[in-house]
Symmetry: C2
Amino acid sequence: MPELPLQGVRVLDMGQIYNAPYATLLMALSGAEVIKIEPIGGEHLRARGEVSRSHGVPFAMLNSNKKSLAIDVRTPAGREIVVRLTADVDVFVENFRPGAAERLGLGARAMREKYPRLVYASGSGFGQVSALSDVPAMDLTIQAMSGVMSITGFPDRPPVKAGPAVADFSGGIHLYAAIITALLRQRRTGDGAHLDIAMLDSVIPSMASNIGMLYDEVQLPSPRTANRHGGLAVSPYNVYTTTDGFVAIIVVAERHWVSMCELMGMPELCQDPRFATAAARIDHMDEVDELVESWTRTRTRDEVFEKLRRSGVPSGPVRELSDVLADPSLRARGALQDLQHPIYGDVVVPHSPLRFEGEERVPIEASHALGADTRQVLSASLGMTASEIDQLMADGIIR
Amino acid sequence: MPELPLQGVRVLDMGQIYNAPYATLLMALSGAEVIKIEPIGGEHLRARGEVSRSHGVPFAMLNSNKKSLAIDVRTPAGREIVVRLTADVDVFVENFRPGAAERLGLGARAMREKYPRLVYASGSGFGQVSALSDVPAMDLTIQAMSGVMSITGFPDRPPVKAGPAVADFSGGIHLYAAIITALLRQRRTGDGAHLDIAMLDSVIPSMASNIGMLYDEVQLPSPRTANRHGGLAVSPYNVYTTTDGFVAIIVVAERHWVSMCELMGMPELCQDPRFATAAARIDHMDEVDELVESWTRTRTRDEVFEKLRRSGVPSGPVRELSDVLADPSLRARGALQDLQHPIYGDVVVPHSPLRFEGEERVPIEASHALGADTRQVLSASLGMTASEIDQLMADGIIR
C-alpha cells in the first residue's frame, strides 16, 4: 500500500468559515499535518456553532483531522508565535480580506522574505490584485457579481442564488489545487509562491454553456431557463412532476428518445414530424414537456427513474438533502461518514472527494476543541516549556 | 522568475465535454504538456461546436493550450497507439462512463500494470465504485440527485437547478486537485494511482449550510429560501430591487446594520426594538426587507452598491453575464482574455483561476483544430515515419 499522498506536508491554516477551511480539510484528509490557528474566541464558524447546531455541524464537516491552536495574533507575542511556527511548515493559508494579513504583520511579502520556500496561499472574493479588492466578499455577493444569479431560476422571476455556497467552495477547491501545484514545484526547485485565488475567477468557467449562448445570433427571451437546457437547445431536458416528487430527464442521443417513446407507450411519437428529430422537438418543446409529464404525472418518482435507468435514458430523482445524507451508496463508498462528535453529537461528515481507488483512506478524526493542541504544538515545534505556555495563557495570548 | 509549476509534466487526455477537459485545461495553463485524444469526428463538444457557435465557444474556453490528436480507439491499431503513447506520460485522464475505458482496452488496471508510475485519473458522476455507476450522469441529473436542486429557488416553486454546470465543474476541479496530489507522491515515491473522482461526492460539501439546518430542532417551511439566508438566520440578507436591476445585501456584523440605517436616512431603526438586534431582525424579516427595499427601489443598482461599498457593508450588484465578460477588472487581472480564434472568431476565454502572484502566466494559445498535432506527436513520441502516418490516415485510424 503506497504512503499517503501528502505525507510529510505541514500546513499552517488561518482559514475561516468555508473557503480556506475546505482547502485545508482536503489537505488533512490526504495526509498533511494541518495546524489550524484561530482567534481566542474561535473562528466565526466555530463561534456561531456554539449558538446553534446548524453552524456547529458545518464546522464539524470542514475541520476534521486538524490540530487546533488559539492565538491572539493582534498582540506582538501572538504574531511572533505564528511567524516562528511558519519556519517549520510548507504552506501558510489565509482567507482574510486582502490587506488584513499585512496589517497583522503576517502578509505574503514579509513571510516569503523570511521563508523563501514557503507556499503562501491567499483565498479571497476578487483577488489580492483587483479593482474590487476592497469590497467585502461573501458567497451571496460573488454569486450576484459573477453572473451566477442572472442565469439561475425562472424567466418570470428575479434572479436567484444557487442554493449551495458555490462561490465559497469553488474558491476553496481551487485554493487547494493551487497549493498542491505550488508544492509540486517547491519539491522540485525549492521555490515558494504567493497564490492569489479569487472566488470570482473560479466560478466563471462553470458558466461556459451560458457564455456560449451570448455568441449566438438569436438571443433567448431570458438568461434564466429554469430547469430547461441553458440554451433551450435540447428537448426533453427538464424536471418533471410525479405523484410524489420530481424527476430530471435529458435526452442526449436519439436512441434515448426512441426508448422513452416506447416506455411511455407512445412509439408513434418517433415518427411524428413534430417530434421525430432533435430540431423538431426543440421547436415543439412545450408539447414535448407536456407529453413526457403526462406519463410521469401518474407514476412515482422512483418508478419513473428505475424505468428510465433500465432503458439507459439519463435521468435522476430530485432528492431532498435528507435523502442524500441517508444514501447507503454514499456511505458504502465512504463519501459520507457517521461520527459521534464530542461537541456536536451524532453528525454526518464528508470524507474527501479526492479518492485514491484501492488505497486506505485517512480515518476521520472529529474536529478538535478550540486550543486542544496549543500546548503540544508549541512545545514540540517551538520547544516552549510548560511554564512559558502557562504564562502566555495567563496573559490571554494563547488558549 | 521561477519555472512553471507543472513544467515537465506530460498528460494524455481522453476527456470530453466539461468535466475532464476543465482539469486538463488547468494543467496546460500551469505548464504541463497536454495531448488531447479525440475520436475521428472530434469529441462531443467540438462536434457540436461545428453546428452552433454556442457550443464552439465553450470548446474554445476549455481547450486552450492542448495538442490535438484524433484516433479511432475502437480499432486495435488505434488502441495500440494510445497504449504506446501512455509510456511517455505521467497522467492519463478519462471521463467515460465507468467500465467504458476497460471495454476499449484502456482501463486503469491494464494501464497501471503496464506502467506502475502512471497516475490514471477517472472522472464520473457517481464514481467507479458505486451502486449507481451504471446510471448515465449529466450535470442536470447530478444536480437533481445531490440535493442541489432541492435547495435552489423559491419556496412556492418546484426545485430548480443552479444555472452554472456546478456538478461538471466541481467534478473537474476536484479531478485536477486529485491528479496533482497524486503527482506529488509519484515524484516522491514512484507510486502511481487510480483516481476515482465523482461529481456527486464533490458537490456535497458545498451544501454545508443547508446540511447544518437539518440538525436544528425547528425546521424551515421549505428547504428553498430563494435569496434569503439558507437557514433564515440573517437579516438583511437578500436581493433587492432597484430602478434598473438588483443588488444583493448582507449584514454580517451589527456595525453594517448601523451603517445601513444611517445610509437609508433612518438612524432611528437601530433603536427600534423590532430591528435593534440580529435576533429581532430575524423575527421581523419581512419588515426589514420592505424597509431596505423602500430605499433601494428609488435608486439605481450602481448607486446603491457604491454607497454600501463606501460604508463597508457587504453587497454586490446582480450582473448579467455580458457585464461580467466586459468587466475591465477581470481583464486587468488576466482572468479573462480576448482571443481571435481561428475557428470560432473573436471570443473571450478564461485563464486559469490558479494564479501565482508576481509570476509570468502561460500565454493563451487558441484550441487547436482536430488532429492538428497528430503527425508531430506520433513522429516525436513514437518515432513513426511519414509514410506510416499516411497509411494510418488512409485507413481512417487517425486523423
